[in-house]
Amino acid sequence: MKGLLLKDWYLMKKYCRMYLFLTVVFLVLSCIKRDNLFFSFYPCLLCGMIPINLLSFDERSGWQHYSGTLPYTKAQIVSAKYLMGVFAMSAVLVMTGVVQTVWMCLEGAFQPEQLAAVLFAIFFLSLFFSAVCLPLIFRFGTEKGRVVSLVMVCLFFGGLSFVTTLFAGNFPDVSIPLELLLAGLALFGAGVYALSWRLSVAFYQKREL
């Protein structure tokens, strides 16, 4: 599978440079505008898009067909994309960790709980987006898969917003620390990602290219 990962690495180096630049910009902005969580979490969506874009490049260049002629199993082809997703997420996690730590230290207010909470949230969001989208893309192809996954993400966040509105002010008072709650969410994200990988392998094995 090293060959597949190397190929994706070359592609990422060529086509995803802008993502790295945007991530750095947003990380700096997230430190300046501490009250706006959008700046902290937008890089997660960017890195969640990397495996999806890699798949799209594969489809466009004909690699998807060509890789079927090489000594790789379909499970390996799927796994390479999931590993690239983990790699991108780890990169954002490390960058955020470093930037936030430096900034907190400069401000003289280093709060490990707050940093952990941000990192757990990033971990969850980065994996969740691609976990939802990838099986659909492996099932339907990039064109259809992107539309379906966009609908799924909208439905998820729409549903979340609906539930929040419905129970506004009536949530049971559970005194769980935020970082613990987010750690649970990160664990849930990892589970969903693993499940998503299994689903993608099953879908791709059945798909006729």
Partner: protein, 283 residues
């Protein structure tokens, strides 16, 4: 010496809406080149995808070097070099990067062979694939296919869109590959003239059915063409004329040479003419 079969296909069936590959039987012995001829949509690419287990068959069996292709296709693919019509190499990769990827893909990858081939085929090492001409792209596909000690080459329309010089180079590469006895080539194309130069066997696919699979030399020796009037044609026994084509100047008929009465001039038939006759008549 025992000759193994590189490919052995029996009763292969695959159905799509509006197209069925219908009980295909095909045998490619080691040391031979087989041309898979057929019009667009005849089932050539479907056959190749089924051989490589890229799509699932509905019925029949495929053996590669004597083993069922479902058993361990990954291992079999180590011994197969494939060049597809659209190659499939990512646009931004250079020849060197392609070599690095393949080094980690094939167990038997030879970086020296690859480097020599790049040099021999005058392929630039640092230029991205997207800047290659069609001929150069195809040659890079061949360089990859020939650098991991493949015993079987499967080529899907490798000469389409190439200029005559590049086509000739491709033909030369294949000639060199088949100098080794255990090497075999399955090459699909609708440019029949290229196959005529290369192939030992010709298989005609038409609308998903195999209408003929025969040694090329035998085909050329067996069949011939006669040109006459329709009235003259009526004098022949019905089984002599295999196919006929009526034109404003008379009739051109494909005949079995041995059955033609003496004194009638039979001209040689090309594989292309043979295919066109058969494809037009076989419904």
């Amino acid at each position: 010496m025992n000759t193994r079969n590189a490919i052995e296909i029996k009763g292969l069936t695959k159905a799509y809406a509006g197209f069925t590959l219908d009980h295909l039987d095909l045998v490619l012995p080691e040391g031979c080149i087989m041309g898979l001829v057929g019009e667009n949509g005849a089932g050539k690419s479907t056959t190749i995808k089924l051989i490589l287990d890229i799509i699932h068959k509905d019925g029949g069996s495929i053996k590669l070097f004597g083993k069922d292709n479902g058993e361990n296709i990954r291992l079999a693919k180590e011994e197969i070099g494939v060049v597809l019509d659209d190659i499939g190499i990512p646009e931004c990769l250079t020849a060197v990067q392609v070599g690095n990827v393949m080094k980690h893909t094939f167990k038997n990858w030879s970086q020296d062979t690859y480097r020599d081939l790049l040099q021999k085929l005058s392929l630039p090492q640092g230029k991205p694939f997207q800047d290659f001409s069609r001929g150069m792209k195809m040659k890079l596909g061949f360089a990859v296919a020939l650098s991991h000690r493949a015993k079987l080459l499967i080529l899907d329309e490798p000469t389409s869109g190439l200029d005559p010089v590049a086509r000739d180079e491709v033909v030369e590469i294949l000639m060199e590959f088949t100098r080794q006895e255990e090497h075999a080539v399955l090459i699909s194309s609708h440019i029949v003239s290229d196959l005529e130069k290369l192939c030992d066997y010709i298989a005609f696919l038409h609308r998903g059915r195999l209408i003929l699979c025969e040694e090329k030399d035998r085909l050329l020796a067996e069949y011939g063409l006669i040109s006459c009037t329709e009235e003259e044609l009526h004098d022949f026994a019905p089984d002599v004329v295999r196919y006929k084509k009526v034109n404003p100047y008379g009739v051109q008929a494909l005949v079995a040479r041995d059955d033609v009465p003496e004194g009638i001039r039979v001209s040689p038939v090309s594989i292309e003419e043979l295919f066109v006759f058969m494809a037009k008549e076989a419904v």
